[in-house]
Amino acid sequence: MKQDTLSMKWKNFVESRKPLIDDWKHTAYLWRKSKLTMIGTFVIVAFIIIAIFAPFIAPYDPIAQDLSKRLQPPSSEHLFGTDQFGRDIFSRVIYGSRIAIQIIVLVSIISGGIGTLVGVFAGYFGGVVDEVLMRITDMFLAFPSLVLAMAFAAAMGPSLTNTIIAISLVYWTVYARLARAEALRVKNMEYIEAERAMGASNFRIIFSHVLPMCISPVLVQLTLRMGTIILTAAGLGFLGLGAQPPTPEWGAMVSDGRNYLVDQWWISTFPGIAIAIVVLGFNLLGDGIRDMLDPRLRR
């Protein structure tokens, strides 16, 4: 008897969520239709798996030096060869994915969070608040992003944490503009007016009604930007303003090998390929997600 009512409840639950399930099925269908999005997804999934299982995949300690085996070309023993300190490049590339993920996640959370909040407040309140917040945003946008990130990183001193802070401080403007545009659109909708007629506070309206509407364009932009974040972090690393040695950061590794590029090409090439593949993967995935969420392509 009890079993019966439970299964009934489950059936009702499934029934009530059917449109949602159909929606997901449709999304999966759109995903399968686009080869490039699938490739992007696989690359990123592989990237994440490699980062998680790095200690099991990497054959050597990424920072252990062995000067007797320095500058060896790729072989069965050292898949990607060794660098000028005799460190295994394959292991370093594998561990580098962890650094890259750390940067991406933290930068996305910090810059996405700051940007969305600033944008939503500016858009919702308008007037003076909007002017002040948006002029500050314009000040950040006035500089080329890499130059500004370099300035921040140099001012705060080179380290991984400061790289993350510097990149976040540069990229939040994009999300602020997006979130503001969405908040401007949403705040004049009748459901917000209805909320005001009920007597809801501004705080409540912003956080439980305006913000949820602003998040999806910001999320799409975040995935599209992840490639750029890696490139910027690698750029800072290459210039010596990012993660410090012996941290296996891809940009710094490319930089390490540039004096040996003619004779020992493998030192710079393999981390460079890793950067290229992951950035490409994120771009393909981001484009795919943007297309999938495009209402014109949906039913």
Partner: protein, 329 residues
């Protein structure tokens, strides 16, 4: 101020001007006079219809009563309390007593919220009920507007226009308010659905002893719903009276034009057409004297100079026209 137990809302010389900014420095160049000195009394348990064409200020009156827009001048008194100088806490209390149903049910419901959250929202704001109690209340309210329990876990886009408007009505009545502004609640719906929503509104009015301010441009609907009718033209009330008076003895020339525009569902019926001359004047720059004189067939010199005031014809029938004695038979 007359304190009368029969009066729910009193509006005294209400004005709402919207500034028009232009030029490089966005100086205020002129004002659109959406509502320009309106006095109105809404009695308990009546349906007062506010009619007029687009842009005449009827929606602005509704929103100003609910304090969704601040009036430029004048006051709104709800159950003896003046809304225009009420404190935040007082306003919060007063908001429990009045609600609004919007014209377009496709934009008045949050697209990312479940129906239970949309309808339960007023309870979350105004009461400390637990989520289970709220859920029960929502269920009850949905049933009273003709929806079922299983609809609670769906999103607005899964409903038809009529059902969405039922959800909007449920949200408006869940706090058991005394007064609801109905801002063209059926204009966005199919004709077949309109009648059902109107019936629902009438039933709820009886059941919960509600008072409606029914804003519309559709006189056929007014005939079905209203007890009294106020006709607006360019921010002013030009005629006010019991529904039967307005329909049987329309006196203001503008009311007569509106009346003549009601379609009659009989293909062989040929009726005399009265069309007003020209277009509605710019509300930022209304005509001097009587605002209707530019389009009125009865216009005389006096109409261009002196603005008419609302005069009592008989009983509760008022009109703002210099020549009503000649027109009224």
């Amino acid at each position: 101020m007359v304190t009368n137990n029969n009066v729910l809302i009193e509006i005294n010389s209400l004005k709402k001007y919207f500034p028009v900014r232009s030029g490089i420095f966005l100086r205020v160049k002129k004002y659109v006079r959406a509502v320009d000195g309106v006095d109105l009394v809404i009695k308990r348990n009546e349906t007062l219809a506010l009619v007029g064409e687009s842009g005449c200020g009827k929606t602005t009156i509704g929103r100003t009563i609910l304090h969704l827009t601040e009036p430029t001048d004048g006051e709104v008194v709800f159950e003896g309390k003046n809304l225009t100088n009420a404190s935040k806490e007082e306003l919060m209390q007063l908001r429990k007593g009045m609600q609004i149903v919007f014209q377009n049910p496709y934009t008045s419901l949050h697209p990312r919220k479940l129906v239970k959250d949309i309808v339960g929202e007023p309870l979350k704001i105004h009461t400390n009920l637990s989520s289970v109690e709220i859920l029960n209340k929502v269920k009850e309210t949905l049933e009273s507007v003709g929806l079922r329990e299983e609809h609670m876990y769906r999103y607005p886009h899964e409903f038809s226009g009529g059902q969405r408007q039922r959800i909007a009505v449920a949200r408006a009545i869940i706090l058991k308010p005394k007064f609801i502004v109905l801002d063209e609640p059926t204009s966005a719906l199919d004709v077949s659905v309109q009648a059902r929503i109107l019936n629902l509104l009438n039933e709820l009015k009886e059941e919960l002893s509600l008072t409606y301010l029914f804003i519309t441009h559709d006189l056929a609907v007014v005939d079905y719903m209203a007890d009294r009718v106020a006709v607006m033209y360019l921010g002013k009330i030009v005629e006010l009276g019991k529904k039967d008076d307005i329909f049987s003895k329309p006196t203001h020339p503008y009311t007569r034009v509106l009346e003549a525009a009601i379609p009659i569902p009989d293909p062989f019926f040929k009726k005399e057409k009265i069309l007003p001359k020209g277009e509605v004047p710019d509300p930022a720059n209304p005509p001097k004297g009587c605002r209707f004189h530019t389009r009125c067939d009865y216009s005389i010199d006096k109409c261009e100079k002196v603005e008419p005031v609302l005069e009592n014809i008989e009983g509760e029938h008022y009109v703002a026209c210099h020549r009503w004695r000649e027109i009224y038979k």
